[in-house]
Symmetry: C2
Subunit: 348 residues, 2 copies
């Protein structure tokens, strides 16, 4: 079999961190992968020079991952079709609001049999008030197989080669597991593959809602016991959500990095927690707090809570998800944060 050509679609913080790993592994496993890895770069001018040129000469993404070298076999390409047309493997790692447009631009331009993996944490919505997984969105547009990679993976720590773990979820082709492992696994980035893609992806999105509840608890100084209880209740709602809307999950998946590990880091560090903790005492709308604290980045949790709300409502399941609902209503300013525990108790 010809070595597989790999393209990374995205070159932000996480995309660049993952390019270090993928570039390295493509060189290591020459029999499996083409050693030249394309990385689609949205062109920007940095200090008067094109970002793509800087990457291809200095081998560093000076804007999004400064101070860390990219392997020389990772080549920046500014046209997404050009970057992807020869690819056997597409790694999607762009902000989730851009996935649809980028996928559309690739329709009819990909090699037969190309496979994708999404590293994007978040959800999309459909026209009927429901949600769509990012992997579903890519699959529907491009008609290709889409796996996902999620876990407790702060990009800068992965780039610094700190030991961590990640979970790859595949939908039905467990035989691809070895290929994905060879592409992503390193001594300090430990991959486990599970055949439970929807659960893996939903964990990555839903944990941000739980982190908002953890943030409110921190802001309200409710203490360690209460925070632990909220994280646990949030985890149970995540599981219930998957069971209700994407049935067929394995309980074991929640013990993977995408499950408890990612949930925990997000609830103790992470920007959702931070923004929501600050919101409690801020006396202004959440969007303003977000603006002030995140320097233009956005917190995913409030958005995800908003995206799933109509779905819970239309399926008459609001009462079954008191934490998810409370987070949404608090973020919207409809309920005061200090009513969080009352809401959890069903008195909201």
């Amino acid at each position: 079999m010809a070595p597989k050509k790999v393209t990374i679609i995205g070159s932000g913080n996480w995309g660049s961190a993952i390019a270090r790993i993928v570039g390295h592994n493509a060189t290591t496993y020459k029999d499996i992968f083409d050693p030249t890895v394309n990385m689609w770069v949205f062109e920007e001018i940095v200090d008067g020079r094109k970002l793509s040129e800087i990457i291809n000469t200095q081998h560093e993404n000076v804007k999004y991952l400064p101070g860390r070298k990219l392997p020389e076999n990772v080549v920046a390409v500014t046209d997404v079709v050009e970057a992807s047309k020869e690819a056997d493997i597409l790694i999607f790692v762009v902000p989730h609001q851009h996935v649809g447009k980028i996928s559309q631009s690739l329709v009819g331009k990909l090699k037969d049999g190309a496979k994708a993996i999404s590293l994007i944490k978040g959800l999309s919505t459909n026209n009927s008030g429901g949600i769509k997984l990012i992997s579903e969105e890519i699959r529907e547009i491009l008609h290709i197989e889409v796996s996902v990679l999620m876990g407790a993976n702060l990009a800068h720590e992965v780039a610094d080669d700190h030991f961590c773990e990640a979970t790859i979820g595949t939908l039905n082709k467990v035989e691809d597991g070895e290929m994905w492992t060879k592409l992503f696994n390193t001594d300090n980035f430990r991959i486990n593959v599970v055949k439970d893609a929807n659960t893996v992806e939903l964990c990555g999105a839903l944990k941000n809602i739980v982190a908002c509840a953890a943030g409110f608890a921190d802001g309200l100084k409710l203490g360690d016991n209460t925070k632990a209880a909220l994280i646990r209740i949030g985890l149970i709602e995540m599981m219930k959500f998957v069971d209700t809307y994407y049935p067929g999950s394995h309980l074991e998946t929640y013990f993977e990095s995408c499950g408890v590990a990612d949930l925990v880091t997000t609830c103790y560090g992470g920007r959702n927690r931070k923004v929501c903790a600050a919101f409690v005492t801020a006396n202004k709308p959440l969007a303003e707090v977000e603006q002030e604290l995140l320097n233009g980045q956005s917190a995913q949790g409030p958005l995800t809570a908003e995206e799933i709300y109509p779905m819970l409502q239309s399926s008459k399941n609001l009462e079954k998800f008191p934490l998810f609902v409370a987070v949404h209503r608090i973020c919207k300013g409809e309920v005061s944060p200090d009513k969080l525990i009352d809401c959890i108790k069903g008195r909201c």
Copy 2:
């Protein structure tokens, strides 16, 4: 049926916090419980007065839970036999090293059909290099049924009525669940009963080992990803330990308060984490660090790691529990803390 007489054996921080709840519920459910709850107090002199007298007049344990009133129906009794002889329900909440001696003193002195519940987190050892659960120790000495209550329950937060959850594990009598719930559940102390006592109890003991690993990671500044990975790997070792030595657990139990919730709080707060983080840079034996930081209290994690080590060794399972083994060896000074991740990778 005659109302059940309840005795709390122990009056420390946790014992006093739980006395507030049990005292309240015994009054609320007069048809089920005798409203007078005995609390065995190890007599001490505080500011020239007997602690038991202070409790019975001021209704406050001024030494171990100052600033919080005990219900007036909780009565301090200084003789453990006197306190327990009429009891239908015995709540054990003493330091784990005293359980054996206290239980011995009660042999032949209890009412027929008396039942116990242990709130004690820790392990005991047997004569053949193995471990014994605290509930097993009580059961063997007193030949009574012993359930357990565990969870993410810092005593002072429970005493302050902050919302939290706890898990009661019963061995085979699920019909007692309602009684235990009535005795312990309040609006802010949410009880769930599971028929999986050994798992519940082992979670309470083993999580302290994982918290040591989390502490080393903090001390070494390994970052959030690595800490999350260690907590996850630790949880998997907890599950494997239960499966190996106390088979028959339910996966669901780990999602209870006694599982992920207690693990998480202990790994982010808690004294095991604190002592082990300080140990990394202290350049002195762990026992000295403990002495300095904990003001005479002890960290359970290093002790529990030591207690299970011979068992792992004699059953040739050391390689299956790299985190538990690494924590023990680091605590003993046999391995440097900065080798933690190498140990987890099996290169220690």
